[in-house]
Amino acid sequence: MNTAILDPKLAPPFREAVLPVLRNPMLRKNVAHATEVIQNKRARLVAEKTDWEELREAGSAIRTHVLENLGAYLLQFEERCTAAGGVVHWAGTADEARQIILDLLRQENATEAIKIKTMTSAEIQLNPYLEAAGVTVHETDLAEIILQLGKEEPSHIVVPALHINRSQVREIFSRTMGLKDLSDDPKELTGAARHYLREKFLRVPTAISGANYLIAETGAVAVVESEGNGRMCLTLPETMISVVGIEKVLPRFQDLEVMLQVLARSATGERMNPYTSLWTGVTPGDGPQRFHVVLLDNERSAILARPKERQTLKCIRCAACMNHCPVYRQTGGHAYGSCYPGPIGAILTPQLMRMHHAESLPFASSLCGACYEVCPVKIDIPAVLLDLRADVVNRERKQAKRAFDLMYIGLRIANTLFSRPWIFHATQRLGRIGLRLFTAKDGWIKWMPSIGGRWTENRDLRGLPDQTFHEWWAARAKEQK
């Protein structure tokens, strides 16, 4: 059973959260295998595009332009969507969004709803809220069904059940659907899910979705998916409620040309995602006849107001950054304590919390830069991580608890050394003598106390040499004279 806490307000710091994960070989193998498969698929499809860098540049330019003109495009979207028969609601906070959605469901007398996979609903923790209010929610995305039935939490934004393997899926389906003879053959597993879903599709007239894009020019909402279950939710129900972050808007229909190319290749390593659904308001006799869009701010305006961190909102949720992240590949998503894991989560989650929670996340990176290299809209994630680290330090260094924090003390001392070479050199000489205490006969340090012990836990450190470089240089200069 899963014990992950995906509420940034309650989740433990990253260093604590990784411990159970690192001791879970099955989870780590599942994550490593799945990310490797997606990485390789992506690499092949990116390599076949001769204009990949230009596409990234275009994707980045479109998203940057949107953020610089967000207000105007949102108003345009509202106008066009309304004209086409949709109803647009504005939600400032997660709480407002949940309330709006519940009110709409009550107007419909809905006691059940089917759902297209949406991370935004996970962000506002919609399912538990609706369940508590007496509305039963049925996920329809295969991975989301696995999680819902297995009482698991998502560990990835595109492939939420990436940490679960086939035989675990078999176990969950067999247990919750009462299918004793189910094998772990993918065909049988998807068959079981199809059977489970069909009944819901035919019975439940109310659906909830997120969106990949909003088109300002036409008022259309776009969802891309692999299975077609989202398309079913757009076909059979009478009512559709879409909850969408305000940053998801694109200016023109034509912009999809760029965005769909970079998204599919980056996310799943496909030339085109199998199902791309666009709907504009309400069309008589076709699809849901009542359509609502809940535009969610939930701290996005605050991020928008921060010039250096604003680029966080360019994200199109492709998850390439997490698939390529050497940290995520070891931990999977749960350690990030948020529905947005990996590098993008490490910058998005703390900002969604106004930096009052999840402040260990900006430090959960070796700054290797793989995320930036693969980001299809060129979000400089390492740069934002560094900005957020500086934010955390600027706030914390004034706090009394940091007065005794060895990391803070060490960095202050280091700065003094680096500012005055003669003290730096004296400390090098002192260190040479002091560290002798810990240096074995072979010249290596195998144990150090305190923070040093975090290094020597499984690595040795070579003892300090008898001569620093600058001493060698000075001695050589003397000889040459």
């Binding site: 070891q330 700065n415 500012s419 975090r454 600058h470």
Partner: protein
């Protein structure tokens, strides 16, 4: 040609042999090298830990020390990446107009060692001899930060006697990440375990790189595990000749 050596704080303290090798190599190639005793650190540790004001003051110091240098050679790719990737943002945030002008004048003079050899000296065959099986780890900052590209391979391919063996997943991080390795030691070690598996699978005698920080991490684990491999900075391979083999071989 005249150039100044910035040795970096950790090379000075922990890996002076890399500095000695860089000196030997560049002087052999006819470079008139100077070294300034006042240098300490580029500020990377502080910048990466969120101590931006301290990083800024160290950066200003460094630039002042090398104000009149013709070229700055640095055998440490992450320090070069710090200067190119982070200095501009830090100076934008904390500096004034004249400091930013000083930075603009400074940055074009900065060369990572392999850049200096290939781009500035236009030499790929440095006359080195190193008869060993060697694999190369492309440190993250060298690869993705300052885009060293094929320079390291050009240099290694001309070393006589050297048998190069490619490293699977060469582009993947070793898990060091500066203070990351002690702030998040468990995950850092998990990354190291995976990386070390690839490195040891090459069955090379030496793993080389253009940055001692990754090598300190990998080498520390190799030593702990009594692995049949050692780490060596590429400067030491390039400085090595038949008459004066690398210090690591002594």
């Amino acid at each position: 040609m005249r150039a100044s050596l910035f040795i970096t704080c950790y090379n000075d303290t922990l890996f002076p042999e890399t500095g000695r090798a860089t000196t030997r190599l560049l002087e052999r190639l006819g470079v008139e090298l100077d070294f300034r005793q006042g240098q300490t650190c580029c500020g990377q540790m502080h910048a990466n830990s969120g101590f931006r004001a301290e990083a800024f003051s160290q950066a200003k110091r460094l630039i002042r020390i090398y104000e009149d240098a013709e070229a700055l050679v640095i055998p440490g790719s992450s320090c070069v990446a710090m200067m190119r990737d982070q200095y501009p943002g830090i100076f934008e945030e904390l500096g004034n107009e004249s400091q930013r002008r000083e930075l603009d004048a400074f940055l074009p003079k900065v060369f990572e060692l392999s850049e200096f050899l290939v781009d500035k000296l236009h030499v790929e065959d440095v006359g080195a001899y190193f008869p060993h099986r060697v694999t190369y780890h492309a440190s993250c900052h060298g690869l993705r930060g300052i885009h060293l590209g094929d320079r390291p391979f050009k240099l290694l391919s001309k070393v006589r006697g050297l048998e190069y063996v490619a490293l699977e997943h060469m582009d993947r991080c070793c898990g060091f990440g500066g203070t990351f390795s002690v702030k998040n030691p468990e995950i850092s070690q998990a990354m190291l375990t995976v990386k070390l598996h690839d490195v040891l699978s090459t069955r090379a005698e030496f793993c080389t790189a253009l940055d001692n920080s990754c090598l300190m991490h990998l080498g520390g684990a190799m030593h702990r595990q009594y692995a049949a491999m050692r780490t060596i900075h590429m400067a030491e391979i390039l400085a090595s000749t038949e008459d004066a083999p690398a210090e690591a071989l002594a």
